[in-house]
């Protein structure tokens, strides 16, 4: 299945501006892009950005072992908003150009737990995560709680002009893998 994510230029710029802001102790910021599905055909899923939810400064946890760690209040907040608005949730953050946009080991470890939990809000929404680095991206979605992640193949920023992020391949995981593998 081909999965395309589209967001308006205005929403994209809001997201990037928020994620680029420094935090007093977290190395990086995270946020949530709230999305809705668009029906095209059986082979393609269109995901459309509707809102961006920033994580408040006070909802970060000081953990020097990871780039960013957020508390349950932040998770609860986005899940409530997603449920109220009928949205899916895409966890987003930035990598700097040296790392590139591929998922880190920590990203994969955390997403494997976090993204399935978003499905607890019900409603049949699609959830996932994305990393952006300059003009490159890596993103995946899960269609159901127990489904394997599927790569997002295209991310378009819709405006005048349209711009496209370049996909970066990243290893994903199988939900049935019980061993905590090092990728």
């Amino acid at each position: 299945m081909l999965i395309q994510l589209k967001i308006t230029r205005a929403l994209h710029d809001t997201l990037i501006h928020d994620l680029e802001r420094p935090h007093s102790f977290a190395y990086e910021r995270v946020g949530f892009l709230l999305i809705k599905k668009g029906t095209m055909d059986a082979d393609t899923l269109l995901l459309l950005g509707g809102e961006y939810l920033a994580v408040k400064d006070e909802n970060y946890i000081d953990d020097p072992d990871v780039g960013a760690k957020i508390n349950s209040a932040a998770i609860r907040s986005v899940m409530e908003r997603a449920m109220a608005g009928g949205y899916g949730i895409i966890h987003v953050h930035l990598h700097d150009k040296l790392i590139g946009s591929a998922f880190s080991k920590t990203d994969r470890h955390e997403f494997k737990k976090l993204v399935p939990s978003f499905h607890n809000i019900g409603g049949g929404a699609v959830h996932g995560a994305a990393v952006f680095s300059r003009n490159r991206f890596t993103a995946f979605v899960q269609l159901r709680k127990d489904a394997d992640p599927i790569e997002v193949s295209r991310v378009s920023v819709v405006g005048y002009p349209i711009s496209e992020y370049v996909p970066e391949r990243s290893r994903l995981w199988k939900m049935k893998d019980t061993a905590d593998k090092v990728f």
């Binding site: 589209k6 967001i7 308006t8 230029r9 205005a10 929403l11 999305i35 809705k36 599905k37 668009g38 029906t39 095209m40 055909d41 393609t44 269109l46 459309l48 950005g49 509707g50 809102e51 608005g85 009928g86 378009s156 819709v158 405006g159 005048y160 002009p161 349209i162 711009s163």
Partner: protein
């Protein structure tokens, strides 16, 4: 041969050709305006099209529909097939989805487009098209020509080219669509009427629309805009920004198509 073919438009940037190849253009209406647009997009290098028009060519279309021939009239050829012929003469391998029907009868393919050109009659048709494009985050480019007769003065020819960009002002924000206009049209049972149409005026607005579309896809002018509203004064032969744009200086967001109203419509339990 491909390099030579597009060598004269290399100023559009090194990625222009691949941008065109990857871009899917939707056209709703393949009459006087849409036929120009199809031809020009094909010449520029677009190879993916989603085409909607339910009509067949008639003799009254022969003064302006690009590609339509006397033979097509005799054979009652569909306008969508005339457009396909124009495209295939330039790109035998073009990927074309053909819908000889109203787009509302089969809207899903339109949602897959990167750009949609609306060459339709009537305000309500435009409203519906724009609404669909806003929901699925597709830049929508609208064109139209009108001729008013206010005797004893000469007829007044005017037109518009509007680029409605998701996230930017819509056609309601721009003042082109109003509830009053829609109500007046509805009072005539939705009949937009038979408007005077001529090939050269259609060509001007269509070419301008194609230029906007190419800029949206390639970014060659490096312009960043949240909308375009150009008015065509046919009597003077002028195309210029519409004066209503001055009223948008304080515009901050579109209240007609809020950001959260994207994707498939959802039913909410009351």
């Amino acid at each position: 041969m491909e390099n030579e073919r597009y060598s004269r438009q290399s100023f559009l940037g090194p990625k222009a050709e691949s941008n065109f190849l990857g871009a899917r253009a939707g056209l709703v209406g393949l009459g006087g305006g849409g036929s120009h647009i199809v031809q020009q997009l094909a010449y520029a290098g677009f190879k993916e099209f989603v085409l909607y028009d339910g009509d067949v060519g008639k003799s009254g279309n022969l003064n302006r529909t690009i590609g339509l021939t006397q033979n097509d009239i005799s054979e009652a050829r569909a306008k969508v097939d005339v457009a396909i012929r124009v495209i295939r003469c330039l790109h035998p391998d073009a990927r074309i989805e053909r819908y000889q029907k109203r787009w509302q009868e089969c809207p899903e393919p339109l949602r897959s487009c990167d750009l949609v050109f609306g060459c339709v009659d009537g305000y309500s048709e435009r409203r519906e098209l724009e609404a669909c494009c806003r929901r699925y985050l597709i830049p929508y480019i609208d064109i139209g020509i009108d001729v008013h007769e206010v005797k004893p003065q000469p007829p007044v020819m005017s037109g518009q080219v509007i680029a409605s960009i998701p996230g930017g002002p819509c056609m309601f924000c721009l003042g082109f669509l109003t509830e009053e206009k829609l109500a007046r049209e509805a009072a005539k049972y939705g009949a937009a009427g038979i408007n005077p149409q001529v090939v050269w005026a259609n060509g001007v607005v269509a070419s301008t629309a194609v230029g906007l579309g190419i800029d949206i896809v390639t970014g060659w002018t490096a312009a960043k805009k949240n909308s375009v509203y150009l008015m065509y004064e046919g009597n003077k032969g002028e195309m210029r920004p519409h004066p209503r744009l001055r009223q948008l200086e304080s515009w901050t967001e579109c209240s007609h198509f809020p950001d959260h109203l994207v994707g498939d419509p959802q039913f909410k339990k009351l």
